[in-house]
């Protein structure tokens, strides 16, 4: 009887230990990932949201002369 209780206790301790170890591993993995992302300069909170626009465009160009401008009626 006592042996049976002792065995159950050992089993419960083993399971509890695995749960704690798993939780710690998950915690380290998640926060490690976030830390690595922040350290690389990609803070998701600072990311610009993408929006659809039919009237706006941005571009960067590298040339040897300045890009021309066309003056026209508007």
């Amino acid at each position: 009887m006592n042996e049976s209780i002792s065995r159950r206790r050992r089993r419960a301790q083993l399971i509890r230990g695995r749960v704690v170890a798993g939780a710690v591993a998950l915690f380290v993995a998640v926060f490690g990932g976030i830390t690595a992302q922040l350290a690389s300069g990609h803070d998701p909170a600072l990311a610009k949201s993408k929006s659809k626009s039919t009237t706006t465009s941005t571009a960067k160009s590298t040339t040897n002369t300045l890009a021309p401008v066309t003056t026209k009626q508007s």
Binding site: T56, T58, L66, A67, V69, T71, K72
Partner: protein
């Protein structure tokens, strides 16, 4: 090697393009959008509409509105009322009450247009009663302002001021262009053909303003069934047909260029293009005017 960032967006009923080697273009774009909301005639809540609707003689305004009114007064004085900012009721009577769709075909509207003649100042010279003292605008209640092209030139210059630390920049505010930069590089400026052909001329500009005014882009059929456009003869309150369909002016600033281009178109007279420019006539021919 020159690297410039560029942003294009719709504003002031036209297209705005900003190119610069340095500077926060997103911030400047947001300024343009804010200026547009302030000065549109088509939103009763805009500062311009509230000013026009006010029955008070003295109205406190924002610094930007004060700058616009100052530029508008200056334009009227420089041209003796030919460029008249007080024609808001006339432009609405002519049919320009909302954002316009596709313009009329220029050749067709020229065929149907009334007899040509130079525009003249309004006999009442309402602009003489208009003044601005710091942030207070004074005018007789009922005198209403139209932002017209003057605002476009002014805002091109204000944006240029925000880019003054950039090595190179160009701000094209719906046809009114401010160019500059600390690197003092020259930039090609092409003059558009209003009849759809190849560019008519190319200027090389290091620092200053260029503006093009014309009757082909904002045009519609008026209440009388005749072709109409947004450049009015102040003396009649009706669209001006002077024999010139487009005027391009060079000047030290975009705001000044806007005034000179409009005066040249309304008068049909090249003497306004003292810093140089291009006139395009009804028959499609054009003349390049050298600076004096």
């Amino acid at each position: 090697v020159i690297t410039e960032e560029r942003v294009d967006f719709a504003c002031f009923g036209g297209d705005v393009s900003i190119m610069a080697s340095e500077g926060d273009l997103a911030l400047i774009r947001s300024r343009f959008e804010s200026w547009h909301r302030m000065l549109t005639r088509f939103d009763p809540a805009s500062e311009l509409c509230l000013l026009n609707a006010s029955r008070a003689r003295h109205v406190r305004v924002s610094p930007t509105m004060a700058a616009f009114v100052g530029a508008a007064i200056d334009a009227a004085h420089r041209t003796d009322g030919l460029v008249d900012p007080t024609l808001a009721p006339e432009i609405e009577r002519a049919g320009y009450r909302t954002d316009l769709g596709e313009p009329l075909d220029l050749v067709t509207s020229l065929v149907l247009a009334p007899e040509r003649g130079p525009a003249r100042s309004h006999p009442d010279r309402r602009w003489l009663d208009l003044s601005v003292d710091r942030y207070t605008v004074t005018r007789p209640p009922g005198v209403e302002l139209d932002s017209g092209g003057i605002a476009k030139g002014l805002f091109a210059d204000l944006a240029a001021g925000l880019l003054s630390g950039s090595g190179s920049f160009a701000v094209d505010c719906a046809g009114d262009v401010a160019i500059g930069g600390s690197d003092e590089l020259t930039r090609p400026v092409l003059v558009d053909d209003p009849f759809g052909g190849e560019p008519l001329h190319e200027f090389e500009i290091r620092q200053g303003g260029v503006a093009t005014s014309g009757i082909g882009r904002r045009s519609w059929i008026g209440p009388d069934g005749l072709p109409a456009h947004h450049l009015l003869d102040p003396s009649t309150g009706r669209p001006a047909y002077t024999g010139v369909v487009q005027a391009t002016a060079l000047a030290p600033t975009a705001a000044e260029a806007e005034v000179l281009a409009k005066a040249a178109l309304l008068s049909g007279d090249e003497h306004w293009l003292a810093h140089g420019g291009v006139l395009v006539f009804d028959d499609g021919s054009h003349a390049v005017i050298a600076s004096r």
